[in-house]
Amino acid sequence: MRTDGRANDQLRPVKVTRGFTQTPAGSVLWQQGKHDRAGDGVGDAGIAALLQGEQGRRMGDGGIRDAAGINAAAQGMAKDRAYRFARDGDPAPDRALTAGGARPFKDRAAHDRAGLPGAAGGWRHTETACISAAWVALKDAVARLPREMPGAMSKEQGAVPARYDSTYYDPNGAVVDQLAAVSVGVIDGRCGWIWIITMIRGRASI
């Protein structure tokens, strides 16, 4: 049991604000607990192209992977950590299929005021928050795509680059899996999520 009455494996309250910023196709603020924003994460998602079927398979089915420097729509945003949530496999920027970029709030002063040390491996729970934020942002971005590719060329019109071929335009099949992240640890011999550890510094062993 934690000092606030929650069980060791009980999540903090989560608040999700969608449409957090206007520029990206999807943008989400994910807030966990009450840590003076030090535990908040922002996710932004942009869409470059969606390819499914044979073309998608030919490009590779990387599924979900860690991909720093992701091609998110939000310009000028620092992306301390980014994940791809959808089918990809081609590093060329114009072939990025769907991408969600995530960033924690960069208010280090607030982080320090909240007394949050870095978790093992360098994660803070703001990073777990921004991963969740980015996934929701990606789903929102995909949902805003039109059902048909605007102005798309078809195979019948001749040989066209696959990324302009409406045959492979499939927003509903673009997101291939879902992702979440937590930090866990042992405190006083019991396993729990890292948020326990951050509140009781010095008693954690993993």
């Binding site: 060791n8 979900i64 992977r65 093992a120 491996g121 996934w135 899996d177 992240a181």
Partner: protein, 58 residues
Amino acid sequence: MNVALTASGRYVEVQGGAENGQGFDRATMNRLLDVAERGCQGLMARQNEGAGTVIGIT
């Protein structure tokens, strides 16, 4: 220990280390993964609440 997990049950990332100078055993590792899995499932349930519905049409 940091764990990123997909809804299909595949680990994207697992990283961690003992900070007590004594290490930890396999049983503890398994317990940590169990807790992490429950945590990720809880977060994904929260993610699913409303995600993917169109908002803020411009």
